[in-house]
């Protein structure tokens, strides 16, 4: 490695739940870049930090690993990286082994394994504030002597908590030779390959070596006066309620209910504001530009396209915020614990809970979150059923149709009929997802018991800083991914819906004449049996890009010239007159299942590395949608005794 040309690379390694990510955030702030490792879907988090003297250091946050013997794709990356097996990645200059000071008993084993690799290792004793508060005798220099490694104290959640680590890296960078004095293995530093290491011995593969390592750890802990096992911790006391077989599920239901209420209620004012903003922009453009192609592109194509994404941002931000708080606090694994049996009945595990929960805002981040599921089959099934979780994009469609066709009555106990129908639609989505998972479980033949071994970390108060950074990251990824591709697709669909333009004096709506319109008319034959008229069929074509687009597309089809928020208001009376009740219900049923979202398919493609699964997803969802719509149409016709 030429120390002069390239910036030094520091790798953060540690057990899961050691506070590594908080430390990474502290070191790099928002100067992080998230990408993928070549060929796999494991996230690669790299950031930059500036030392006091102004030199730049690259920091890599590796996925948490319990040992150097990998069990999940995440762990595989960490092991491969540390052992230098990744072709595209350089060997790190320094490995920072992050350990939880309150739990050295387990975390030190990985340090021993890392030490055997012969690379420069420095131990970051994290969460020392918690340890001191619990009265544990923390003595970093003593630990350093026992380990024969440099040890620094860090507090990942406090500003300035990484100062000692920064100072050490600074000294390292300035004078590498001094590392020898600190006890780091000199040969590895001597500007070349480390001595050929006995990987098998380093990795400590079998039970006997793990036990031997544990003995060593206990010896060290004994020397430091840390061998005691803690009594009842505050976490345990909370867990008596949270994990209680009866109280636990109640707490979970209440939490989920609160989250949903908050997300839908609190986001409303922001969503209205954004809608108004877009409508205002549309008005401005309409006034500034003469009616024509460009105006149409900007208003009907770009604004409608960007608008359809941005309007959901408040909901997505709120839902992410709740999920991050629950995750950071340590509650989510408990929720997964409580739901594990339920999920197990359809062949999933409790770990699928988080991705599926995220999918209620939008399936794209939900699909991305499926990376945390170690079992490949579970992961694929979770990805396949995530779009059935009623995502926010369905709401404009549901709102339009329910508002227009379901009378605003109450059915007793103060429950409104409209709210009830909405709930039924949500339940149908979740029910459908579980049914599909169950079918996939039967098809899989393997009755293998999925391993669990899920850690329930100690509870702690989520740090606002980490929350902010995490939220910003996820929102950025979402907006960038969805915004760019959806915008491009909207422009293309606008094009297909506007060309060829009809000759002057054409009696019907302009869209009928266009390419999209012709496609829709063909589709109308396909959709006639389930009650869709040609206007719906045409509107579904641009609606393929994103679900909420169909509302605007209906407006276009009914030859409206309004933009943005006005459309729904003007479309409602038109469709109230033109459509029958069974048609409206059939469209609702279609929307529960239909994959009218290109972004979801693209995300699935990205996460599964092939087009096969998105194709299966699109296929079975269209089939289900058709079936559901058909059944609903004919059943409601029969029930309402219509011809």
């Amino acid at each position: 490695m030429n120390a002069v040309a390239a910036e030094p690379l520091v790798a953060l390694v540690g057990n899961p739940n050691c506070g590594k990510t908080a430390l990474f955030n502290l070191l790099t702030g928002s100067r992080q870049k998230i990408a993928n490792y070549a060929g796999v879907t494991v996230e690669r988090k790299e950031g930059r930090l500036r030392t006091a003297s102004g030199s730049r250091v690259r920091v890599l946050d590796l996925p948490g690993a319990y040992s150097l013997r990998p069990r999940t794709p995440d762990e595989q990356i960490t092991c491969d990286f540390v052992l230098g097996r990744l072709a595209d990645e350089p060997r790190p200059d320094v490995v920072v082994a992050v350990v939880d000071a309150t739990n050295l008993r387990r975390h030190l084993r990985l340090v021993l394994a890392l030490r055997r690799l012969g690379q420069p290792v420095i131990v970051a004793l994290n969460m020392v504030d918690l340890a001191r508060r619990r009265g544990l005798p923390i003595d970093a220099p003593a630990l350093g002597r026992e380990l024969a490694l440099p040890v620094v104290e860090t507090v990942g959640v406090r500003a300035g908590g990484a100062q000692s680590l920064l100072d050490y890296l600074e000294r390292q960078h300035a004078a590498p030779e001094s590392a020898v004095a600190d006890g780091v293995d000199a040969p590895a530093r001597a500007g070349g390959r480390a001595a050929p290491l006995d990987e098998a011995a380093a990795v400590a593969a079998d039970m006997a070596s793990v036990a031997a390592d544990q003995h060593e750890v206990e010896r060290i802990l004994g020397r430091l006066g840390l061998e005691g096992v803690p009594a009842d911790t505050p976490s345990d006391r909370i867990d008596r309620f949270v994990l209680h077989p009866v109280v636990g599920p109640l707490v979970l239901s209440a939490t989920l209910f609160l989250v949903f209420q908050a997300v839908f209620a609190w986001a409303q004012p922001f969503m209205r504001a954004i809608t108004a903003l877009i409508a205002a922009l549309a008005g401005l453009i309409g006034a500034a530009l003469p009616a024509g192609l460009l105006q149409s592109l900007l208003v009907d194509g770009v604004l409608a396209g960007a608008g359809s994404v941005l309007v959901f941002l408040p909901q997505i931000v709120l839902l992410f915020a709740f999920i991050l708080v629950l995750e950071d606090s340590g509650y989510l694994p408990r929720a997964a614990f409580l739901l594990d049996r339920l999920m197990g009945s359809v062949g999933l595990s409790g770990r699928s809970f988080i991705p599926l929960l995220s999918s209620f805002a939008c399936a794209v981040p939900g699909i991305l979150a499926a990376r945390t599921i170690p079992n490949a089959r579970d992961r694929t099934v979770t990805i396949l059923i995530a779009p059935l979780m009623t995502c926010s994009a369905r709401l404009p469609v549901y709102t339009l149709l329910i508002g227009t066709f379901v009378p605003a009555r109450t059915v007793g106990f103060g429950v409104g009929l409209q709210g009830l129908v909405l709930f039924v639609l949500y339940a149908a989505g979740v029910g459908g997802a579980f049914a599909v998972a169950w079918v996939l479980k039967r098809l899989r033949r393997a009755n293998a018991i999925q391993p669990l071994q899920m850690e329930l970390p100690t509870y702690h108060v989520p740090s606002l800083r980490n929350l902010g950074i995490g939220l910003l990251q996820r929102v950025e990824v979402f907006v960038r991914r969805v915004g760019t591709i959806i915008l491009a697709l909207m422009v293309l669909l606008w094009f297909l819906s506007s060309f060829p333009a009809p000759p002057a004096g054409y009696p019907g709506p302009a869209i009928e004449y266009s390419l999209a319109g012709r496609l829709g008319s063909l589709l109308a034959y396909l959709f006639a049996p389930i009650g869709f008229n040609w206007q719906i069929s045409i509107a579904l074509v641009p609606g393929l890009a994103a679900r909420e687009v169909v509302v605007g597309a209906l407006g276009t089809v009914y030859a409206l010239s309004a933009a943005g928020s006005d459309v729904a208001g003007q479309v409602a009376p038109l469709i109230a007159r033109a459509w029958t009740l069974p048609t409206a219900f059939a469209l609702l049923a279609w929307y529960v299942f239909a994959p009218q979202c290109l972004s979801t398919l693209v995300a699935a493609r990205r996460e599964t590395n092939s087009w096969r699964y998105p194709a299966i997803m699109a296929g079975y969802q269209f089939a289900l949608a058709y079936l559901a719509a058909g059944l609903t149409y004919h059943a409601s016709r029969w029930l309402l005794a219509l011809p």
């Binding site: 387990r106 036990a211 636990g248 997964a336 669990l452």
Partner: protein, 99 residues
């Protein structure tokens, strides 16, 4: 004649999943059962802290009996019944001296 010394009863090992809640126990052995990727499971359990000599406690059992929340060392893990069954423990007497 020397007084009868009370003999120690033979230690009865249980599977971890059979342990009553909130009872301290010590791990005696971690054995793989047939039908899992056997050796792998035992090692994995060892790696997350289930080693002979470690102290364990069952914190909670979900409805329907699984998963189980287990305290081992300073950590808490959720395990399936079948995973917990691989861990053989012996219950410790109630009054345990803590260092």
């Amino acid at each position: 004649m020397p007084p009868d010394r009370p003999t120690r009863p033979p230690e009865k090992t249980l599977g971890l999943e059979e342990l009553p809640l909130h009872t301290d126990a010590r791990i005696v052995a971690v054995e793989a059962r047939k039908g899992h990727e056997a050796a792998d499971l035992a090692e994995r359990l060892a790696e997350i802290g289930f080693l002979p000599g470690e102290r364990v406690r069952l914190l909670a059992r979900a409805l329907f009996g699984e998963p189980l929340a287990v305290r081992v060392g300073s950590d808490t893990f959720a395990l399936r019944r079948s995973e917990a069954a691989c861990v053989r423990v012996v219950a410790l007497p109630l009054r345990v001296l803590r260092p």
